[in-house]
Structures are given as C-alpha cells and as structure tokens.
C-alpha cells in the first residue's frame, strides 16, 4: 500500500517535471527580434527574394491553418500543395480548423504578448469578416502581396477596375495584406427532371410567381449561415428601389446611413415575409404564414433538394455541380442556372499571414508557391476551385490550359457567369442583415420594420 502511494507520488512528480519542460520548451528556431527585423526589411523592399528563400529554408517549416471540411480539398493539400512547398525545404504542417477559431488563436497569442516570430499560425485561408477582424486588430503581417514574384499573375493595380475583386474583400480594402487564392460564385441549381428549363425563373419577381404556382417547393438556408445571408444579399440587390443593385452596399455602413439603408432594403425583407406561406412547410395560403422550414446549413438544404422536397439548391462554387454529379450526390439531371440576372455574388478567398507568424519567410515562400499558375491549375482541375489569379495576365498557352482543365459548367457558360458577377456587400453589413432577418422574418416581430432595423443597426454599427 505504502509502496504504491510513493510510486504514484514519484510518477506525478515525473509528469509535472515533463509538463514544466514542455511549457518552457523551445518554440522553434526563429529568434523573435530577428523576425521583427525581417518583417520590417521585407515590407520595406530591402530583401531580395533569394534572401527570403534562404531564410525560409532555415525556418524549415510552415504552419498552414485551413478550413478542413472538404475531403477533396484536404487531399489536394496533401498531393499538390505539399510537394509544391516542400520543394523549398519547408515542411508543410497542415492544421485543419474552423477559420473563426484561427482568428481567436491569433488574437489570444497577441493578448499574451507574443510578437513577431512568437505566434502559432504562419498562414491562414481566410476572407470576409474574419479577415476584417484580423485587420482591425492589427494582427496581419503587412502589405506583402505585390512583393511576391508570382504577384504578376494577379491584377493588383488600384487604377485597373479588374483589380477590385483582389483589393476588396467584402468591402474591406485588403491593402495587399492577403493574396487571392480561389474564387467562388453563388449559384442556384435545379433538377431538370422536376423543373422544366422554360419555367426556370430569371429574377426574384419570376421566382415569386413560380413559388405561388408551386407552394412548398422552395427553401433557403437560415441566416446567420453565410449561404443564407448571401441569399438575402442577392435579393437585396434585385429589390434595391434605386436600381443601383449592389453599389450602395459596398461602402461602410456609417457612410451610407441608417435611414438610407432602411429605404434600400425594405422591399427585400417585405418580399421574404410575403413569400413565407409558399416556402417549404409554409402552409400555402395568402396571409397565413404557417411554419416555414429554414434549413440550418447548406448541407441540410442540399439533402432536401436531393430528397425531392424542394426544387432549388444554392451554394458557392460553379463547379460543384460537376463534382457532385461525379460523386453521385446529385443526379445527372441537375444544372446550374443564371439566377438572378441582377447579379450573382462572387467572392474571392485569400491567403493571409499573421503579424506574429513564427516562420514569416517560410509563409511568404509558401504563399508564393501556392500562387503559381501551375498550382491554381491543379486546384481547378483536381477539385474544381476557380482560380484566384487573373487569367488575362497569363500566357495564351496557360490560358488555354485553364480553359481545358475547367470542369463542365452544366447548363451555363463561363461568359454568362462572368457577365452576371456581382461583388459581396461590405462585411460590416453582414451582422445587421442577420439581426434584421432573425427579428423580422424568423421571429416575425410585430414591431415596425424601421424600429427593428434601428435596433439591429445600433447594436452593430457603433
């Protein structure tokens, strides 16, 4: 008995010592002061790319955090991104994580006083509000994008209108603190076995007629899921009473003003309320709301679409249809449609480097490696992610190979899609839209619309 107790004590001492050693252990080769100096010198343009590559090889590894919810993406990371980066003597450590959690991790590191070279995250796949949060908290490495050799394949000139998708992320100026990586356009899909092509709506007004004729056959994802929020934004563009579609929503809310915002979005939210009886589970009579179902996730909507309960599916990614037909998720008869004609939201997602990246040079080299035409081509061919680089800046032969590699668009053409592209709203509107939707549509509050918007606005725009 006594022996056991003493053994246990010794064991716990051992564990505690081990923990203490781990806690104080070396956090990698980078010397913090050195990392700060490197950052400054690189951003000032005082370092040659060869010097960056040399330092990157000394750092020896890179911590890449990315959303890991897609098996196809994860396997592309292993088979394509890994060899592309390891060619530079940099070991790629893939960390699958929710982007929100990565933002938390970076900010928590900063809060505990970890400066340049002392953080945990080297690079992160990011966009929208998450990028904005990092930028607002001065948590980004700096304006590096134009300093990478492969930046010549990206339109980054502020005077060129084609650059705006690369220089604005949900309305937030990127200031070259992130590198475009992939492009996603919000598309609606139908099953031609169920909806005849000539009945396919082209506008939300036509969709309304279709829904009245086919009650209970339409559903959209509930905001604050981003697939739901984007649906509402798309509708806001068409229902903008001035006919200026997305334009007013690109500026900062403070510049637009509350009263103006109310005037611009009211028709869209009235539309959503008016159509509730005709949604899935809605009940189907004028004025009686019933209890409409709002799927909580994109996956939940997709399974209802595939299961035959609703006739429309919606997601970001024009090549998803091809992928999902191949994998058997969709039947062969599913098609992309051009909807609505007033604009299909397209956004890019980016690679960013945090301010306190433990291996900043390796991160720069890795982002550059993932910005090459070859890497974007393999991403397009293997997993159907539309390239983040700008095709017109490539050699004609390279442009042709991108055209060859692109999966089938099933029902639409690249030209039509490009013609109907629309930018996303300013990131700061997203919370307001979600809060209004929750109160006005989901909760069906009795209060005046103006009052509901005022509440949502004041709690978010301060």
């Amino acid at each position: 008995m006594k022996r056991i107790r003493r053994g246990a004590l010794r064991f716990s001492l051992l564990v505690m010592t081990a923990l203490a050693v781990l806690a104080c252990g070396d956090r990698g080769a980078a010397d913090p002061g050195d990392a700060a100096a490197f950052r400054e010198a690189f951003l000032a343009g005082r370092l040659s790319w060869t010097e960056v590559e040399e330092r990157a090889a000394r750092e020896g590894e890179v911590e890449f955090y990315h959303w890991g919810g897609s098996e196809a993406l994860n396997s592309w990371m292993e088979t394509s991104a890994r060899p592309d980066i390891e060619r530079y003597d940099i070991r790629l450590n893939l960390r699958r994580s929710d982007t929100r959690d990565v933002v938390d991790l970076i900010l928590a590191d900063m809060a505990t006083g970890r400066g340049p070279g002392e953080g945990t995250v080297d690079m992160v796949w990011i966009n929208g509000e998450n990028f904005r949060t990092l930028k607002d908290n001065d948590a980004l490495f700096g304006s590096f994008a134009a300093l990478l050799p492969n930046s010549r394949y990206f339109a980054l000139d502020p005077d060129d209108p084609a650059s705006s998708v690369n220089l604005f992320d949900f309305g937030t100026p990127t200031e070259l603190m992130e590198m475009p990586w992939a492009a996603f356009q919000y598309t609606f899909r139908i099953d031609t076995e169920r909806v005849r092509p000539e009945d396919v709506p082209r506008t939300f007004a036509q969709l309304e007629e279709w829904m009245r004729a086919n009650p209970g056959r339409f559903a959209y994802v509930a905001p604050p899921h981003y697939i739901g929020t984007t649906f509402v934004q798309t509708l806001m563009y068409e229902k903008n009473p001035d006919g200026t579609r997305y334009e007013p929503f690109l500026q900062d809310p403070a510049d637009l003003g509350r009263g103006e915002f109310i005037r611009l979005v009211k028709p869209a939210f009235e539309y959503l309320r008016r159509l509730e009886p005709y949604l899935l589970g809605g009940g189907g009579t004028e004025g009686r709301r019933g209890s409409p179902v709002y799927p909580a996730t994109a996956g939940a909507l997709q399974s209802r679409f595939v299961g035959g309960e609703v006739d429309f599916d919606m997601e970001f990614g024009v090549f998803d249809v091809d992928r999902d037909i191949r994998s058997g998720v969709y039947p062969e008869s599913v098609r992309n449609i051009i909807f609505p004609e007033s604009g299909m939201i397209t956004d890019k997602s980016f690679l960013a480097i945090p301010w306190n990246a433990p291996n900043p040079a390796a991160a720069l080299v890795a982002v550059n490696a993932l910005s090459s035409p070859a890497s974007h081509l393999s991403k397009l061919a293997d997993i159907g992610y539309a390239p983040g680089l700008d095709l017109p800046l490539l050699d004609p032969e390279d442009q042709e190979s991108f055209r060859q590699a692109a999966p089938d668009l099933h029902g639409v053409t690249a030209e039509e899609l490009a013609k109907h592209e629309a930018p996303n709203v300013n990131a700061r509107f997203v919370d307001v839209i979600d809060a209004i939707w929750m109160t006005y549509v989901a909760e069906r509050s009795e209060r005046e619309f103006e009052e509901i918007v005022a509440d949502a606005w004041d709690s978010v725009v301060r």
């Binding site: 933002v103 900010l107 908290n137 604050p224 589970g281 209890s291 179902v293 919370d431 989901a442």
Partner: protein, 297 residues
C-alpha cells in the same frame, strides 16, 4: 519528518483528492470564471475594457428573445426529463420481477445508450421528417394525400424532434441507474410488505419507491442538466425561432464582431445560473421530502 508528513491522514486525503479537484477547477471553474469576467466587460483580447459593467447582462436579460428562449429551453428540458424518469422507473421495476425474455429485452432496451446523440438525431429525421419513412408509409397506405400533409414534428416550435431524441437516449439511462439501485435493494422488503397485506401499489409506493428514490433523483438531475445545456440537438432539430438558450448563446459567440463576445458570455452565465437554480431547488425539495419521512427506514 518527511515520513511522518506522508503518513498524515490529511496529507494523504489532500493528495488523493488533488487530481480530481484540480481537474474540476481547471476544466470547469476556470472557464466559467472567464465567462463571468468577460460578461462583465473584461475581454482585452477583443478590445473590450469596460469592467465592471452590467450592461451586457442587462441587454441580454431584458430582451424578449432571451425570455422566449428561456421558456422554450425549460420546456424542452423538463418534458423529456419527466417522461424519461416515469418510463425508466416503470421499465426497471417491471424487469426486476420475473419477466419472460427478460435478458434479451433488457439488453435491447439498453442499446440506445451506445448510440451517440447525433445518430439519434439522424434516426429521428429518417423516421419523422415530412419526407421520412413514416410519412411515406402513410402515403403509400393512402392515409394522407401527400407526404407534405404529415404533421410537422421536426424543426417546429413544439420541439417534438428534440424531445424524441432525448427520450430515446434517456429512458435507457434512467432504466440502468434505477436497475442498479434496485439490485441493491433486493426483493425481500417488498415481499415482506406483500405478505403483510400491502397491495401491489402500496408496496411500491411505501416500500420500494423510497428506497430507489436516491437513484431516481440522481438520474433525473443528470438528465435535466444535460437537456438544458445541450446544443447540437436543438440546433439540428429545432425551429429557427424560437431557439434554445445554448443555440442563442452560440449564435452570439459566432458573430464576427468580437467586441460582442461579452453578450455570448452573458448568455453562458445565465444558462449556468438558471440550470443551477433549478437543480438546487429540486435537491432542496427532495431533502425536505426525505426529512418529512424521517429518513429511509
């Protein structure tokens, strides 16, 4: 000196308890304190430096959204707790007697325990959704004209889907706990009561029930605490509105504007306090009942 030190009973007790207490402090009390402090306006990571302020609590507690969520959460938690306790005790008492096929049946009734809650949710969807098995069977049998006519059980404010999953898992749970207590009690007292002329109901009410009461109370406490604080089942099977407190809390936690984190933390604190009050009141009631009976005879 050091030998005596380790022979001291108090030291031994302290060392023995240290791992458990340490874990509890580190994993439970720690985060809860962080939530409390953040809800009071101290969150320098998110650039909130307003400590101490009750503004976030006021904002949350005085909103209709919160009040509706609190009522709904209590409702979704209490109904299955009550039903699971009733059914679980009934099953356990039945199986403590001689029943034909008892071994197979009691194995069968325990099966849901090894199935995760999420799988339970998937099963409920497969069965009770409007496109689900039951709706299709009724349609095939001609009892309803379309699967859309099948009454909405999931994703509605009634919360039947949520409560079904809870029941599915918690009847077996209560069954197992009460069975364990019953096997400690043994049939002798009940048999003695019956020999002395008590009816079956009287023997249960006055002899058996008081003996299994501690088990019943424990299992229903655990079941309630889980139901009140569970997130994933209400998220998957509940209505968009009204939502339960944990769902509302997580929605706020996921708002990209991190300066609003304290609102989410105020929700977390409120959930803990409400659930604590309910559990405490329940235990008090039980103790009072125990005392009024003059302790277990």
């Amino acid at each position: 000196m050091s030998r005596n030190f380790f022979r001291d009973r108090r030291v031994v007790i302290f060392l023995g308890l240290a791992p458990a207490v340490g874990t509890l402090l580190f994993l439970f009390v720690g985060p809860l304190l962080v939530a409390l402090v953040q809800s009071l306006g101290h969150a320098p990571i998110y650039r909130v430096h307003r400590f101490p302020t009750l503004e976030f609590h006021r904002q949350v507690l005085f909103s209709t959204r919160f009040r509706i969520a609190a009522v709904v959460t209590l409702y979704y938690a209490l109904v299955p707790t009550f039903l699971a306790t009733l059914l679980g005790v009934a099953l356990a008492v039945t199986f403590s007697r001689r029943v034909r096929g008892k071994r197979f049946l009691s194995f069968f009734f325990r099966l849901p325990l090894v199935v995760p809650y999420l799988v339970g949710a998937a099963m409920v969807v497969a069965l009770f959704a409007n496109g689900g098995l039951i709706a299709r069977l009724l349609y095939a049998a001609g009892l309803i004209e379309s699967t859309g006519q099948f009454p909405r059980i999931l994703f509605s404010a009634g919360g039947w889907g949520i409560m079904l999953v809870y029941l599915f898992k918690q009847v077996p749970f209560t069954f197992i706990i009460v069975t364990a207590v019953l096997s400690g009690v043994g049939p002798e007292y009940e048999e003695a009561a019956r020999t002395l002329g008590a009816s079956r109901m009287q023997a249960f009410r006055f002899v058996l029930l008081p003996r299994i009461m501690p088990g019943v109370v424990t299992s229903s406490l655990l079941v309630f605490a889980f139901n009140f604080q569970s997130y994933e089942i209400p998220y998957l099977l509940g209505a968009t509105f009204p939502a339960t407190l944990p769902v509302e809390a997580l929605r706020r936690f996921n708002v990209p504007d991190l300066t609003r984190r304290p609102e989410a933390m105020a929700y977390v604190v409120a959930i803990t306090v409400i659930s604590g009050i309910v559990l405490f009141a329940y235990l008090r009631l039980y103790r009072r009942w125990e005392r009024s009976r003059g302790g277990v005879g």
